[in-house]
């Protein structure tokens, strides 16, 4: 049977309204974003109200447990843990963001290219990604970072990003391959739309929530990378990130000596960041994949 009827008008919602509607039905996303907002406001408030001079060596009494004066205690080299957290959190987040942006940009471009052009481009990109995949990135990172020994937090971020685009590229490629077979792409092609027009006007909107989830994941992967390196004592030394705080604590035997506030504070901060990112990516994933919404 054929149906003839007027297409019903869907009222256009403003961007903010749509954002809040998205949040209201998505508890995971809301919780994740709230946690991240908490971390950011901690940093902002810290920069406004905390004396950051206390992050210098010997600027505070050594190895003090939390007190009214030093809320998070001090470490064995006379630094306030609170000041270290305030300085370290944005640096760690910055590395993650930078790594995420680089990784997602490269990954998306290559993934689109491989998935859309296919053939030689696909093969070439897959070989590069396979090789990068097999060779432990840790080694590459260590040697690249050796070239830029001083104050290289941003270089660390970029390097991690450049070396971790493979997952995104594969995913985007897979998505493009599925999407390009769908009817509306064929329609667009039949109506004579050019390749780039198809990519940006037809494919992109379908991938946005998906890319958002991958981005959050890439940020979290970047942070994990950098913290892992720092805890091993590798990478740009003394950049006062959260990872280095843990390295210091580990190096001074804070765990064995029972200085729980020293190693505990950066660990808790990192866990909050990861949990926030993880919940956000799960929430976004649920937007991208309605199938997962079912059982929650």
């Amino acid at each position: 049977m054929t149906l003839q009827g007027s297409s019903s008008e869907i009222p256009e919602l403003s961007l903010t309204r749509r954002f809040f509607r998205l949040l209201s039905g998505n508890f995971l996303l809301l919780l994740g974003l709230l946690m991240l907002a908490g971390v950011v406001s901690f940093t902002v408030l810290g920069y406004l109200f905390v004396d950051l001079e206390l992050a210098r060596l010997n600027s505070a009494p050594i190895s003090q447990p939390p007190s009214l004066e030093h809320w998070f205690g001090t470490d064995a080299v006379g630094r306030s843990i609170l000041a270290l957290l305030v300085i370290g959190t944005p640096k760690t987040l910055f590395i993650g963001l930078l790594a995420g942006i680089c990784g997602i940009t490269i990954g998306t471009c290559l993934g689109f290219f491989a998935g859309y052009v296919r053939g030689w481009a696909d093969t070439f990109i897959r070989i590069i990604s396979d090789v990068l995949f097999v060779i432990p990135i840790l080694f590459l990172l260590v040697f690249i970072i050796e070239y830029f020994p001083v104050g290289a937090v941003w270089i660390m971020g970029i390097v991690i990003g450049v070396l971790s685009w493979m997952g995104t590229a594969r995913t985007v490629r897979a998505q493009v391959l599925t999407l390009r077979e769908r009817a509306f792409i064929n329609m667009a092609r039949a109506s004579g739309a050019g390749t780039w027009r198809i990519i940006f006007v037809e494919l992109m909107p379908n991938l946005t929530s998906y890319l958002a989830a991958s981005f959050v994941q890439a940020v979290s992967g970047g942070i994990l990378f950098s913290i892992g390196l720092e805890v091993l004592g590798l990478g740009p030394a003394n950049s006062q990130t959260l990872g280095w705080s843990i390295w210091w604590a580990n190096d001074y035997g804070a765990v064995l000596r029972g200085f729980w506030w020293w190693w505990g504070s950066p660990v808790v901060m990192i866990v909050i960041i990861f949990l926030g990112l993880f919940l956000t990516s799960l929430g976004l994933d649920r937007v991208a994949n309605p199938r997962l919404r079912g059982s929650s």
């Binding site: 696909d122 396979d130 090789v131 995949f133 097999v134 060779i135 432990p136 990135i137 840790l138 080694f139 590459l140 260590v142 040697f143 050796e146 070239y147 997952g167 594969r170 995913t171 490629r173 897979a174 998505q175 391959l177 998906y210 989830a213 991958s214 959050v216 994941q217 979290s220 992967g221 994990l224 990378f225 913290i227 892992g228 390196l229 805890v231 091993l232 004592g233 590798l234 843990i246 580990n250 765990v255 064995l256 029972g258 505990g264 660990v267 866990v271 990861f274 949990l275 990112l277 993880f278 919940l279 990516s281 799960l282 994933d285 991208a288 994949n289 199938r291 997962l292 079912g294 059982s295």
Partner: protein
């Protein structure tokens, strides 16, 4: 080392599912094309030989590439390992001989670093083919093969057991989270947030917490190392107990985090599989619920898990650095970090080679095993 977890750590399930769907066993294979009509079972047999050859060929290629990159990378890095090594020894107050250039040159010649790069490369290959990987700079004059073979059992023992336990527990938990009968499911619903929280803690941080709690505050377990210090493991009940006691906390930190990851991915695969027509069909056929659960849901949801299991087994050797450093466990990872900080070239190169060979080996193994588990793959190879 963050490599292994970076892969499965915070990736949202469907991102993983996306990777899986199109790259599942095909780390090297081509695009999946659903074969349309007709029976082509007979072709499977003669196809498998070319399939196998292709896999092995790629294995050789990757190992060659790996060895080459492995050879060049350390040499491109700035800093002179010999100078640094002598400097370190001098700092430690050791006698390093006459610090004139002649002495340094002698060391250089000993490690073959004075020859042109191409000659070093050829020599490197000759050495590799003879399993002669040179002497360690750190443990001079011990052969690096001996350094590695002393460290390898520790890592393999700890990591492979922890990986397998994590895999089985996590997969089972993830499957039950979706398909457990009524009241059990309600109980398991509570485990979801706990699993998520544990899973989002990087495992080396969990390790630090575990040491603080169970080795320092309550001294149930030793704070580190693989065995009682100063003793070597003996094969007795007491010896095994000591081994287990030392391995427990590092294993627990690995298992807890990894199991969470397996559970989360398995859970979302189960959700996806549960919506498949064949699961509905199995219920409509009135099959017993354990059969629906095992043969229809788990069996299909497990396929991508197998891919990731092979990957994580492949990354065992390189994935151990952080946990071994935190627990001062005498495995490959610990050796690796030392080798990196000291720039012990011969040792680094051998570790890298082992890592690359093991990873590639597992990927090839996966490519060979996977078609047995998923018959659809057999037809996509050509």
């Amino acid at each position: 080392m963050p490599y292994r977890i970076a892969f499965s750590h915070t990736a949202p399930p469907s991102v993983l599912a996306g990777i899986i769907a199109y790259n599942s066993a095909h780390c090297f294979a081509g695009t999946a094309t659903q074969s349309g009509k007709g029976a082509r079972a007979e072709r499977t047999a003669d196809m498998s030989i070319t399939y196998l050859l292709k896999r092995v060929g790629l294995f050789v290629l990757v190992v060659w590439l790996g060895v080459t990159i492995n050879f060049f990378l350390p040499r491109l890095a700035p800093g002179d390992p010999i100078q640094e090594y002598l400097g370190q020894l001098a700092q430690a107050g050791m006698f390093v001989g006459d610090p004139s250039a002649g002495f340094v040159e002698e060391y250089r010649a000993k490690f073959g670093l004075d020859k042109p790069l191409w000659e070093q490369y050829i020599n490197y290959w000759i050495d590799v083919s003879q399993f002669n990987f040179g002497l360690s700079v750190v443990d001079y004059p011990v052969e690096v093969t001996r350094v590695i073979s002393a460290a390898l059992p520790w890592t393999l023992g700890l990591l492979s057991i922890a990986t397998m336990i994590g895999f089985f527990l996590g997969t089972l938990l993830g499957a039950l989270m979706v398909a457990a009968p009524g009241k059990w499911k309600r109980l398991l619903d509570w485990s979801v947030p706990i699993v998520m929280i544990v899973h989002s803690i990087p495992y080396f941080l969990l390790g630090i917490m575990l040491i603080a709690l169970f080795a320092v505050t309550w001294a149930f377990f030793p704070v580190g190392s693989g065995y009682t210090l100063g003793e070597s493991p003996e094969f007795s009940i007491k010896g095994l107990f000591t081994l287990a006691k030392h391995a427990f906390l590092p294993a627990l930190s690995l298992v807890a985090v990894a199991a969470g990851g397996w559970a989360i991915v398995m859970r979302s695969m189960m959700v996806i599989v549960q919506g498949e027509d064949y699961v509905q069909m199995s219920r409509a056929m009135g099959l017993k619920s354990w059969r629906v659960f095992y043969s229809y849901q788990v069996r299909n949801a497990l396929l991508p898990q197998i891919t990731f299991l092979a990957l994580s087994l492949g990354f065992i050797v390189s994935g151990s650095a952080l946990v071994e450093v935190v627990f001062s466990y005498p495995g490959i990872g610990y050796t690796l970090v030392n080798a990196i900080t000291v720039k012990d070239l011969p040792l680094l190169q051998l570790i890298l080679l082992v890592v690359i060979v093991v990873v590639t080996l597992f990927l090839v193994l996966l490519d060979i095993v996977y078609p047995i588990l998923d018959p659809r793959i057999r037809h996509e190879t050509e």
